[in-house]
């Protein structure tokens, strides 16, 4: 078991492409995406019923060594700033595969 950082990002689904692009640019290739997530936040309720991604969110989970944390956070920060949502960081132990 190795100490890892887990970063969870929840934001508007339309941002998924940007997030993936930025992660790749930052050299992060390990992440998991849950689509069709809904929720409520500062911008009201996102009910996922709009025939478009506009009111749907996406959840992205990134597990990385602590040394990569900053890179990930810097990639995500501007997106959250402009488009809203949350970014949560926590400590986990990763099973070395």
């Amino acid at each position: 078991m190795t100490p890892y950082k887990k970063i969870e990002v929840i934001t508007s689904a339309v941002e998924l492409g940007t997030i993936e692009k930025k992660l790749h640019k930052a050299g992060i290739t390990g992440y998991t995406i849950i689509r069709d997530v809904i929720g409520s936040g500062n911008r009201g309720r996102h009910a996922g019923d709009e025939l478009t991604g506009v009111f749907t969110n996406v959840y992205v989970l990134i597990a990385c060594p602590p040394s990569n944390l900053d890179k990930v956070v810097e990639a995500i920060r501007p997106i959250i700033k402009i488009h809203g949502g949350v970014c949560l960081v926590s400590d986990v132990q990763s099973l070395k595969s």
Binding site: S12, R43, D49, E50, L51, T52, V54, I82
Partner: protein, 322 residues
């Protein structure tokens, strides 16, 4: 005759199912159409309307009035966002006004399709090139909306923004692409090909439309809540802008001497607002605008207005003006 028309429209299954969807939300029923289904139905409608439009284009020669109609369509798609912006700007900030402008400059395919159903029920034909006009009118307003936001908005450094993304969203978003593609396929495939898709693309069409409008009713009614906080502005704009656009559209139709069917379709394109392609593009390119404003305007005000009252009204106006 005009009350007949209104009543006939209101009693057609698609409209009744739309109303049922509205009612479901107002009564707090938990009726829900699974979202993948709703998306599929909307793809189906674009596919079918495009395919048929293409099929009809094959049998019509490319006459002058077709070219003129298409040019007029592009003209209106560029004009509508401009006056809409200045109108909206009276009550909103730059970003929201730009998003509203893009919304009303673009079109609603489902409104078009509902008008098609209405014309079919009255045996009034319209040309396949109107589908091409629809495809052409989806995108320009998106570009114009983004330009307005960037010209009038705060200058800022953002490395994120790229014009090529905006163009991609405008011209290659799924709905524009499928509509265009189906139009072209309908045009180039053989008569045999049309025959083999007859039942799938024609006979079940109105049933699918009814089901889809049931979902539209649900979605539109849920968006009413967003509007409550916003006062009367969205309501006035959501009905006023379509009426202005319809009037200008009607004048152009007279000018070009279009048939009743073509005229209705042209006016419906001018008067409808987009709630699929535009919001997705605006959310990315003008994130400062609030989608809980411009989406409900198009979806919960303009769309119901157009399909319930607008279509018969426009028809009557066309006949009156003849």
């Amino acid at each position: 005759m005009s009350t007949d028309l209104l009543v006939a429209n209101l009693l057609s299954p698609p409209i009744l199912f739309f109303a049922l969807g509205l009612l479901a939300v107002f009564l707090k029923s938990d009726l829900e159409i699974p979202q993948p289904i709703a998306r599929f139905l909307s793809l189906y409608l674009l596919f079918a309307i495009g395919f048929h439009g293409g099929g009809e284009l094959r049998h019509s020669s490319l006459e002058a009035h077709v070219v003129w109609t298409l040019l007029a369509a592009i003209f209106m798609a560029s004009l509508v966002p401009l006056y809409t912006y200045y109108l909206a700007r009276l009550k909103m900030d730059v970003y929201n006004a730009a998003a509203v402008a893009a919304t009303y400059g673009s079109i609603s395919a489902v409104t078009f399709i509902t008008a098609d159903s209405c014309l079919k029920a009255m045996d009034l034909p319209y040309g396949g090139h109107m589908v091409a006009a629809m495809a052409l009118m989806e995108s320009p307003a998106i570009i114009i909306g983004v330009v307005l936001a960037r010209v009038y908005g705060k200058k800022k450094e953002d490395s994120e923004f790229q014009w090529q993304d905006v163009f991609k969203d405008a011209f290659l978003n799924g709905s524009v692409f499928l509509l265009m593609g189906s139009l072209v396929i309908g045009y180039i495939t053989t008569d045999n090909g049309h025959q083999s898709l007859e039942v799938f693309s024609k006979d079940i069409f109105k049933g699918v439309l009814s089901f889809f409008l049931l979902d539209m009713g649900l979605v539109a009614a849920r968006r009413f809540r967003d509007l409550k906080k916003l006062g009367w502005t969205p309501v006035f704009l959501g009905i006023g802008i379509p009426l202005i656009s319809a009037t200008i559209g009607l004048l152009i139709c007279r000018l070009l001497n279009l048939s009743t069917g073509d005229s209705l379709m042209f006016i419906v394109l001018c008067a409808s607002g987009s709630y699929i392609a535009v919001p997705a593009a605006m959310r990315l390119a003008v994130p400062e605008a609030n989608p809980s404003l411009y989406v409900p305007m198009a979806l919960a005000i303009t769309f119901p207005f157009n399909i319930l009252i607008g279509i018969p009204l426009y028809l009557k106006a066309i006949e009156w003006f003849k």
